[in-house]
Symmetry: D3
Subunit: 228 residues, 6 copies
């Protein structure tokens, strides 16, 4: 099996982190192809970045050979619907997958993401997926996406404060980390705070493998009619 | 007052139709600047077109001089959130405005749009705005966007069939026409079927004038933080 | 254009304040006719007042000459549905208009109103309009309606405390002032707290002008069938 | 126990029908006091009638001696919230009670009411109570309220057609009759169509007795603060 | 009238408390038959207990003679839907009844229950009944069910703290006590905190009497088709 | 990897069909252990069967050796929450998994299940999961569960009629088959009707493998606290 994982921003260290997180959980026979466009914003923070990165992201769907599924590695699930019209194989977003995975192991989860400006698009996605019913709150840690590339104990502390508040104020039973750049922090945070911490890259790669194995393809008779 | 009206597709006859509909209702002192990008899809039908037209649409926000408000003249409200981050003046989408206007004059409205593939994004917008609470159903007339440019009685008939079903099956009290290209049909359909028919271009221009006169500006402290 | 603005309570100083707020934003060619019944409660606070003022409010819809739209200047949108059955021209409530305006410039707003007893009817309206999806919380400042007639810095301080909590606890990006008597405070609060503050009288007058210019009339085929 | 049952319209034959329906189910020791204002519309059909009848309805809450609970015998639950502010004893609306009763014996119910113009206020109540979650559809039979006073087999037939459609199209498991004037038809319709048919007058009287026996009183610390 | 009240746990002191609460409000001619299975968990705390007690609970529906209605005296409304398929008479759950009763006397209520693990099933029930629309929050007091059998002032204090927070943080206007074992505390808490405190056993017995008197039976044409 | 798949009914031919469907999609290194209790209803149809089968189903969770995940192979997701409290490994229901899978490849799906009495519990699950937002309608084919064991072209025809109506009336873009006994029909129906047909056994086994590989465990800090 071959899974294409597209990071829509141009920061190669994030693409590498994403690839590592993907390979950690993927099946032994699965090849992970982690890519990013060259001509794209360095990070996706907020509605304007989400809009500007779309054509380049969609351009990355082709040119990497046959694949069995696609993962969009931006927690906003940028371009998810457009991608489903553009390729025949299943497409999964990392935000989407993390929400679904958290729904299997908790009655309620909270999301901890980067900046306040990123919160509304995540909230809108939760409503669209129906999974707002399972989410206590989407919290901003005030850590810019690119600051995660210099991750250190300070990052863990700042995320940890939001996690503690989520458990106490939101009655969260699990945490979803709201940025691809947090992929390598999940295990440490779960151990420290004693609850499941879900990370989207691994969740999406596993869901993508599952959908590829199912034989199911994106429906062509409605909103996902094939792009011309 | 000066209102910029952006048609995100490249079909100049639609831009002209949009400009005419805008000027029909605008205040006498308002200048309507109706534009479209050169490098954009000929029509916006479905998620993929919506994604691909965004950078060109956002590019049109600048370069037309000072304006007091912006209207996005695509019924999907393409790029609405991104545009609100990009400019200081209020931005209104024609789908959004039509839904709000219909809410002021009816207990329930139905939408009649073009193709089936365009329905899910409109439904998603209604949910996001909260106005799904006011909508009976989003109906597809199976008329491609560009076919509206050759409008004739056949178009009116096909839209009329959906309108009759909306009144009978959805208990709709008003109709919202779900495409900028239907702008010139509203009055005729209202007269024939005896209920209000709301069209988005005029609704949005009027709302844009209202917001410009209010002095209110898009909030910068959350999701609409200024784009870098 | 001629807009009738009805204050359902009998406090003439509030009617004057409402008229001033309306004229500040209305088009140069628009005549604002601000009225209140003689025989009505001095203020509308809670469900009982809302019910008792209705026949007098509806009586004010006639007798002031031809108008192009009507504004109901009570934040509870008292009698809005009944008024839509009683007159042919569009009717807009100031609560309704403020919510719609706030939806155009923010991802989430909170309302700050007068007494705790007034909160549930505002919440019920938000649900009915569908705009509860856009509201963080409806907050009570514990300021009685008539105390606003003696507005001073103390009023601004008390409202300000709720505004600060709304930004911090509700993640509000804009504030809606929840009483016609707060009409003259919006600009000062917006400047002090650095976010949009929406006031209903001006929002409703602008929406009323927009609807009057649209040519759209209230639908007669459902809930707003003409009153006998 | 003494239950005050207020018919907000002035049609005495309906008040008599209401009183009969109430006494049929009330406890042996309960006195039913069925009244109507003299100065009120002959029937309540639509938003305008609902508004105009309120002061007279609220006036009937006093002057009939001590009672243990109040029933508002108009399916729109006209003035329910205002009445709860005006008296100390529990107040139940017949629409409200019918919805609650139907929720105890079915997974989904549909409502069959009189005119199309009456449907939106019933739908709004269902949403406010939360019980829209349990309702398939609110159907109009096109029978004016006063026509029910001349009830005959034709009435049963017309209601029956909507009931059959509700079972088939809405997957309704029970029917709620949406007008006080239908009170005497429930048993016959239940027998003919083989499913529970819930009528609001008897439901509300039984709920009123239950609440009076409970010792619970309307809360005074929020929206139902005592009217001045 | 004869009402069967089933306590699904095997703690006889709770069954006695339940019987006492039931008889305090029941009509003078009503016989309360309070029972519990012998072979059942000592208390119902969480999803696993809810599942394990079901066959024994359903077994108690028979063997106690003819009854006119059944009350399930576990705040989770354990087995409510199954019981409605198993017997012909109406079945009411104490959680369900408490929510309905609170809806008649307040605009918003909060629930105070025992352990955190019991909160999600109560929240799920509120959503299913539609009454989540009326609930501010479901709060856990951290008091195990069986600790209530040794009730003393400490219990009242702990519940009281949650009640105060509910009034302040949730804007609750009434409290619903979320465990059958709290049945004897309602009056004392209402007096101390000055708002209605609703208890499920008495609410359910009164609703059960009302439904028995109504003549309405559980619908057999949908989800509650008779069990084989 | 070892996945335990529990059929809660006692029909061994269904258990065999379930095992076959599971092995068709499972990874090459995964062992599927398909079991059913001896002492359980022959089929699960409706709320009463759901309740009665729970202790036996929960008893099957132990005694089959170490496993990495559990699948509950009843479309009602019977005992899902209880099972999550009883074992340490992830537990997935086949209804749940089918809804999640359908959400990845369509904007809207409809469910086609067996009897009308089974529809409400499926609808309740959809609401609980939040995925009711993605479902058009839950349709009953009137085929009893055990009749599927004698599957023939007649079964395909009857399901096909509901599928056609789902596409036409519900605007469904995918179909979810609503019974474990339909597991072997998905491919044939997809080919005949030209849209994705999702079957729960394979979906759940794939999700279970994904969750087992993720390292995520059910949260113990809320509703899924470990059963005593």
């Amino acid at each position: 099996m071959r899974i294409l994982v597209v990071n829509p921003n141009s920061t190669v260290s994030m693409t590498a982190k994403i690839g590592t997180a993907a390979r950690r959980v993927a099946r032994s026979g699965t090849e992970i192809v982690a890519v990013n466009p060259k001509d794209a914003p360095a990070s996706i923070q907020g509605f304007h970045d989400i809009a500007m990165c779309l054509p380049a992201l969609l351009g990355e769907l082709r040119g990497h050979g046959r694949c069995d599924a696609v993962v969009i590695a931006c927690f906003d699930d940028t371009g998810l619907d457009a991608a489903r019209c553009a390729v025949d194989v299943p497409v999964i977003g990392i935000g989407e997958a993390a929400f679904h995975a958290a729904s299997f192991i908790s009655c309620r989860f909270s999301v901890v993401t980067t900046l306040r400006r990123s919160v509304p698009s995540i909230e809108a996605n939760l409503v669209r997926y129906g999974l707002a019913a399972r989410c206590g709150r989407v919290r901003a840690s005030d850590i810019p996406v690119l600051a995660l590339e210099e991750a250190g104990p300070d990052m863990m502390e700042r995320l940890g404060r939001e996690i503690e508040m989520a458990i106490d104020e939101d009655q969260a039973e699990a945490i979803v980390l709201g940025c691809a750049g947090m992929a390598d922090m999940a295990a440490g945070l779960a151990e420290r705070y004693g609850l499941p911490v879900v990370e989207g890259v691994s969740s999406a790669v596993l869901m993508a493998e599952a959908m590829a194995a199912s034989g199911l393809k994106t429906s062509r008779i409605g909103g996902y009619a094939a792009a011309n």
